[in-house]
Symmetry: C2
Subunit: 186 residues, 2 copies
């Protein structure tokens, strides 16, 4: 399990996170973040529309982790089984990112504007998973509900993962939550 | 099924909705909304912090519709059965509000800033339901997941309700979605 090596976006996010913790979100400027990451403001704005966006990675890449796994699921997998494969893929993608994810979650929890943005990210992920399920033949209504269940499992597991000290496997946690949901509903 | 009689908050929301449809969200000011509702700007700001808030009712009242029903559920009701009672109560609360809810949903769908606010409203409702379940003895983890399932059922049903022409019963739709979730998960 290799350590995550950040690119320019990742370095800007790391720099922003350090500064938000040190000075607070409000008191940190885009210029501060760019300087800490060793890039120009212009580079910052090539990657992010504004300061609030810096803790939110490329949605195409992020949602793609889930939707590629759904698309690659065996043709005879049920929608929920395809969703479980997406949760495993997401767990793998987050390997090595636990320290960053923990600090990021703490900063987001402390700032309503960032919490809002996080909710929108979750909504877009849910919609992307639903679309991926429809693309493999699931009906619209079942796809929407399966995507919601996947999103619930992932975000509940993520909340447990970032509040845990030890680095447990996010994929295991998420599939475990899916089983808890089954137990509740059945 | 009586028609919903709006109070000052409701009149401001109705006025805002008309203006957002007529002129667009960006071009409408708080002064415009207050004038249309026949109140002063000061009255507007007694009820809402800013223009974005005007389509979002009192969260204590709104969340209370769900949480009061959870609290009033029979002691031997399972968490998910208590949740189903909350969905019925919410359906009842929305009776007579279908025309307003439809127009409101269309305006929200057209404005990312309002969609974000709607997601936050959903998050707070989910948290409130979880807290109500914990208060009646459900464990934290089961309460969080049951609240998420309730929220999924409600919001999926709500989406169907506001896109439907005829006034179907929102409570029936929501309990129906809960059954669909059960069928998917079991």
């Amino acid at each position: 399990m290799g350590r995550w090596k950040p690119d320019a976006r990742g370095r800007l996010a790391q720099a922003a996170l350090e500064l938000f913790v040190e000075r607070g979100y409000e008191s940190t400027t885009v210029a501060d973040i760019a300087a800490r990451a060793g890039v120009t403001e212009r580079t910052f704005f090539r990657h992010f529309a504004d300061k609030r966006e810096v803790l939110f990675g490329d949605p195409v890449e992020y949602n793609g982790v889930f939707t590629d796994a759904v698309a690659a699921a065996p043709a005879d997998a049920s929608p929920l089984d395809a969703a479980a494969l997406a949760l495993r893929a997401a767990g793998k993608w987050f390997e090595g990112r636990h320290p960053y994810a923990r600090r990021r979650a703490a900063v987001i929890a402390a700032h309503p504007a960032l919490q809002e943005r996080e909710q929108v990210k979750r909504l877009h992920l849910t919609e992307a998973i639903a679309a991926a399920l429809v693309a493999r033949g699931t009906g619209e209504a079942a796809a929407a509900l399966t995507a919601e269940l996947t999103s619930v499992a992932f975000h509940q597991a993520f909340t447990r993962w970032v509040t845990a000290d030890e680095e447990s496997d996010l994929g295991d946690l998420a599939v475990g939550v899916l089983d808890e949901l089954r137990a509740l509903a059945c």
